[in-house]
């Protein structure tokens, strides 16, 4: 099959799962934030819907980041090279790496895309948990890559590393392993010891993409960033991180990758030139240094998690331990019906994930937002809808 035919045949898949569902939220996105900030009570309405469906940070960006953007806006007619170099330097220092071990992406999704373009294609295999964040699959599939999805463990919904490893051992060619830690949509962690044991002993033909989009939220001691493998000189992985989650810069599109210098050099040939914009680089750099904002985000997320888990306990709805700014919980109906019922109350929750009907992914917004959510959840329960 030639590449055009391949693109055509994969188009429906990409269109259905990629562009349209992710993009269609735009129409309802704009008004929520102003209503969220600074108010003790949040009342969802058609004009100010409550957006708990994209794991964004409802606090909005760090005030220092916002001030930095405003300060630098007059320079936005220039290409962003200066600001990119400064951010790379901050990231290198913060992660105990050299500048040559950092790449910037137009969101961490571009870092994932660069790795997929560099390693996948016909005759190679992508091994990923199922369900998980699906961009690696979206990018790899049209390239003719064999996609091997490994179901989460039955009761815990934890990633099944053993089965994933077995999948790489059965495959003779290059395998790219996508690991999302904490995983999306479950918010559960995979212990560092297990990941490190595999990466340290994997054969040369296996390459790992460790997506740590929610890294900053994790406090569990069993978790550690795979960045320490990069620090130790391992050349068979890239760690992808984003500024879209705790740093609240989703609209600016900026993420980064950590890897060995030769891996970064190889991936950079797949990166678009000047792929990160000036305000994003400026805001990201300022955000990294605003420890007060990070503390505030962590503490409001913890409060919000408590508000939600208390209500779920009260309503006897099971949930998985949340190590991120979202939580995966049971609902007493199909997931689709539950989302629709919440939508009628102007609350957007979750999105579809395979093999997990009866579960919903809920973003943890501000405590005021979560109180509004709990109120709605109890209303649905009274109507036997949740």
């Amino acid at each position: 099959m030639d590449r055009r035919t391949l693109l055509k045949s994969s188009g429906l898949f990409m269109g259905a799962l990629g562009l349209s569902t992710l993009a269609s939220r735009a129409a309802i996105a704009a008004p929520a934030q102003a209503a969220t900030q600074g108010s003790a009570v949040f009342i969802p309405s058609a004009k100010t819907p409550l957006l708990l469906n994209f794991n964004e940070n409802s606090l909005g960006m760090s005030p220092k980041a916002q001030a930095a953007i405003i300060n630098e806006l007059p320079a936005a007619f220039r290409y962003p090279d200066d600001a990119r170099a400064a951010l790379i330097s901050t990231l290198a220092k913060g992660n105990g790496l050299s500048d040559k071990q950092i790449t910037l992406g137009n969101g961490s999704s571009e870092v994932i895309q660069m790795a997929i373009h560099a390693y996948c294609g016909k005759g190679t295999q992508l091994v990923c948990p199922d369900p998980t964040f699906n961009y690696a699959e979206l990018y790899a599939e049209p390239m003719g890559t064999t996609i091997t999805k490994v179901k989460l463990q039955k009761d815990t919904l934890a990633i099944d590393l053993k089965a994933m490893r077995a999948a790489t051992e059965k495959f003779a060619g290059v395998s790219v392993v996508y690991l999302c830690n904490p995983n999306n949509p479950t918010a559960t962690i995979t212990p560092a010891a297990d990941i490190e044991a595999w990466i340290n002993s994997a054969p040369e033909r296996v390459f790992f993409i460790v997506d740590e989009a929610y890294h900053e939220y994790v406090t569990d001691p069993r978790y550690a960033s795979a960045a320490r493998l990069v620090q130790a000189g391992k050349k068979n992985l890239i760690v992808a991180r984003t500024f879209s989650k705790i740093y609240a810069l989703a609209g600016l599109r900026i993420g980064y990758g950590l890897a060995a210098p030769e891996i970064i050099a190889r991936l950079d040939t797949w990166a678009s030139i000047d792929n990160t914009n000036l305000p994003a680089a400026i805001a990201a750099n300022a955000s990294l240094q605003d420890t007060a904002f990070i503390r505030q985000s962590l503490s409001t997320t913890a409060q919000s998690r408590k508000i939600v888990t208390q209500a779920l306990d009260e309503l006897k709805l099971a949930y998985l331990p949340s190590h991120a700014n979202f939580i995966f919980h049971r609902v007493n109906s199909s997931s689709a019906a539950y989302r629709e019922n919440m939508k009628k109350l102007h609350i957007m929750v979750g999105r579809p994930f395979d093999h997990t009907d009866g579960w919903n992914r809920l973003t943890l917004g501000t405590p005021a937002e979560m109180q509004a959510f709990v109120k709605a959840l109890k209303t649905l329960r009274q109507q036997n809808l949740a």
Partner: protein
């Protein structure tokens, strides 16, 4: 055992990364100069800065950046479609027009295909060609510009793409509308012509080809534009392409879902609507071009007549002159990577920036 990095195909490992213009802060550090005293005329940016309407739109958009952008770019596509009288499904948005060029290559090229472009054309064409494993067919330039007859003759059965930059970067040369039309009429229908018009806003109206009319006639044409030059938004990263809905639809399949950030979308909508800024940018460019070319003529330095916002001139030892410029806080663009070792490219700046460039140039030649 073979290192994973060494598993990269030869065509990827052969790529020499793109060299951007030297950043101001880097030069300040290297030379111990004051940043404010440095004149950067290296990256063809708009010396007027941001359009005032874009500035206002940016400030208004700041409060909502924690949310993901509109992945469909609805408002911007609507504004572009209205401005250029095309339908919204004919508009493709990119993270800069560089993203557009890469997306086109990634969508239509595979190893074994070939791509035709001109000698001295934009450096990104060979880069994106190489990255897909396709073969570059570089056609010798005529008077530093595109030799369309030779390019037509160079098209092979394996050729899938032709890149044309009009005006061309880094030489500033122009293909007249009639010649472009003749070329499009002669190109085989199964070859996509990528017409890169990054600098088209600087052209006098009578020199501008009716590309919108061409689009209606030639389903194998894609026109690429950018907001980084005359619209003054280089730091925000936004460009677009116009083509048939079928071509745009195909490229959208490999596009990253959120490739254009929220600030860029808001600023681009406003910039399209800032006719006054665009007129001032074009007028300033015309005056600056006269200022620079008069000086070059006076100093007996031959230059390539340019239709863009920069001019390329020839000197004996360009590397030596370039380092003289850098030592005196003026950043211009050496063109050795384009195989033009004896030439430098200078972007047109504000009147006083141009004057500083001329002053340093005169001192260097004295």
């Amino acid at each position: 055992m073979m290192n994973l990095a060494e598993r990269a195909p030869d065509y990827i490992r052969a790529i020499a990364p793109y060299q951007a213009g030297k950043p101001i802060s880097e030069l300040a550090r290297e030379m111990g100069l004051d940043e404010a005293a440095i004149v950067k005329l290296a990256s063809n940016e708009n010396p007027l800065g941001l359009p005032p309407k874009a500035r206002a739109a940016l400030e208004a958009a700041l409060s909502d950046l924690a949310r993901y952008p509109d992945g469909n770019g609805f408002a911007l596509k609507a504004a572009i479609a209205e401005r250029f009288a095309v339908t919204q499904d004919q508009v493709l948005l990119g993270n800069g027009s560089n993203d557009i060029l890469e997306l086109v290559a990634r969508t239509f090229l595979r190893p074994g295909d070939s791509v035709v472009f001109s000698e001295y054309a934009f450096a990104v064409y060979p880069l994106v060609t190489q990255a897909t494993g396709a073969r570059a067919i570089e056609v010798k330039a005529r008077d530093y510009g595109h030799d369309l007859d030779a390019m037509l003759a160079a098209i092979e059965p394996s050729t899938r793409l032709v890149f044309i930059a009009n005006p061309n970067n880094p030489t500033g040369t122009l293909i007249k509308p009639g010649a472009l039309l003749e070329f499009l009429e002669a190109v085989p229908e199964d070859v996509l012509v990528v017409l890169d018009e990054a600098y088209t806003e600087y052209l006098a109206p009578e020199l501008r080809a009716d590309v919108i009319g061409f689009l209606a006639r030639f389903p194998n044409l894609l026109v690429s534009r950018t907001f980084s030059k005359a619209y003054g938004l280089a730091g925000l990263r936004v460009g677009f392409a116009l083509a048939s809905a079928a071509i745009v639809g195909m490229i959208n399949r490999v596009r990253q879902p959120f490739n254009v950030n929220s600030l860029a979308q808001a600023a681009a909508v406003a910039a399209l609507d800032d006719a006054d800024f665009l007129a001032r940018a074009v007028a300033l460019n015309r005056q600056g071009m006269a200022q620079l070319t008069e000086a070059l003529a006076r100093l007996d330095l031959p230059y390539i007549p340019s239709f863009a916002n920069f001019v390329t001139f020839h000197v004996g030892d360009a590397a030596a002159l370039n380092s003289y410029f850098l030592r005196h806080g003026v950043i211009v663009r050496p063109l050795a990577s384009y195989n033009m070792k004896n030439s430098l490219r200078v972007s047109i700046g504000l009147e006083e920036e141009n004057a500083r460039f001329i002053e340093v140039l005169e001192a260097a030649l004295r």
